[in-house]
Symmetry: C2
Subunit: 224 residues, 2 copies
DNA sequence: ACACAGCCACTTGGCAACAAGTTAGGATGA
DNA sequence: TCATCCTAACTTGTTGCCAAGTGGCTGTGT
């Protein structure tokens, strides 16, 4: 039904009005409205009352090697992007069986969630969540505001070599909070990548990470 | 706004009616309707006029190692799933610069698109598109109906060892045709994996593949 | 006591009229 | 001639009412 949009014009060109689309395709205005709303929720167009609907400019897609060992920061700086990482929150979380198990924690242990947002060329692109146990890093509560790079933080605690566990990829949609942080609509899929960071020397699990990427901003390279 | 659904009941439990939701959250019925429609388009719920809205049963997610070298068929049979692959179409395509370039073809050459659907335990899960040049396989037109496994077809033509090129991953939404084939709603994201299959001996590009996975049916393992 | 028809309350689906914002053009007046 | 205001014709946004489908309850006749 919304095959009209596949013609893919560019820039801020104006779309036909609801009534025009309805007449042209022999449907009611409500049907045309629903189709256009879908496009709006996917982030392809925007609408202004009294004016019309317009195509958003297509933002470039950044190529990202998902399976690599290099850190996100290094990848982006190496590719010449202006990356800023901002701390959103660092809070104790309630009991989550999955995370606790991965960190070898009991229900009475405390686990912190360190949330940071990745901003590239002024655009928020991903949310990086690190789950860290207080058991492993007792000073996490005090250090909370000063954390910029997790790797730097771990090095300060004597961990030098890192390894990665099995990494899983899934798709989800942003919560309203995540929509605000990422400046995106409710129907923009997020790519969720989860794995653990392990101290290569001792085998200890340092953190569990859950990264939420805006699926429309990246082209993911998963070559082995 | 649709945070109510995150409570995640299970099975075919009935949801509160539009009016009840509207009253409870102090919004209009249209707003509640819009939120519920989103959930319906994502494939989480279904609605019956006169009865109400109900949760769909959550279908299991199949774990799939995306970066592996083993073929999809082998992966699934090894894991004990009942996999059926059905040929949808095998047609000449118009000129597409990207595909033609990858296959080392000129605009006058003919390229075929072999479309097959992967059905696991009776449920359509993925669409597998192979782009093959007539230059490389002159009998493709005649063989079109008899193709079940692409690898078997290539072996018949003397190619024995295969390699894979760079593999790219992206997200998209299904066209109405793809919705029919995959039995899914319009807002179910598809994971698109693209790469080339190369004859390891000669280095020739045999095919370009574009696989469309239903994102809600798989958990993807991208461990290196 | 039981069968059945009709009615009512509830559900989702759909539509039509209205509201609100924008723009362009023409009438009016200095 | 030019500035200003008003109106009309568009756009999207919102509201309310009615249609259609379902199930349960009740009254009525046998």
């Amino acid at each position: 039904m919304e095959k009209i949009e596949s013609k893919q014009f560019s820039a801020g060109t104006k779309l036909p009005s609801e009534n025009e689309l309805a007449n042209r395709y022999g449907v009611t205005r409500m049907t045309a409205r629903a189709a256009l709303s879908k496009l709006e929720e996917r982030g392809y167009i925007y609408s202004k009352q009294g004016k019309g609907r317009f195509l958003k400019e297509e933002s470039m897609q950044i190529q990202l090697h998902l399976t690599g060992k290099v850190s996100f920061t290094e990848k982006m700086e190496q590719a010449g992007y202006d990356l800023e990482t901002r701390l959103i929150s660092c809070e104790k979380i309630g009991f989550e069986e999955k995370v606790y198990k991965l960190l070898n924690c009991e229900p009475i242990d405390h686990v912190y969630k360190v949330s940071r947002i990745r901003i590239i060329d002024g655009q928020p692109m991903a949310i990086h969540n690190s789950f860290v146990s207080e058991k492993m890093f007792p000073d996490i509560e005090k250090e909370r505001t000063g954390i910029s790079s997790m790797f730097a933080y771990y090095r300060k605690h004597g961990h030098t070599e890192f390894a990665s566990s099995k990494t899983m990829l899934g798709i989800s949609f942003p919560t309203s909070k995540e929509q605000q942080l990422l400046h995106c609509q409710s129907m923009v899929p997020l790519i969720i990548v989860e794995n653990d960071c392990i101290d290569a020397a001792t085998g200890e699990v340092l953190e569990h990470t859950r990264i939420l990427y805006r699926s429309d901003k990246f082209k993911y390279d998963i070559t082995m």
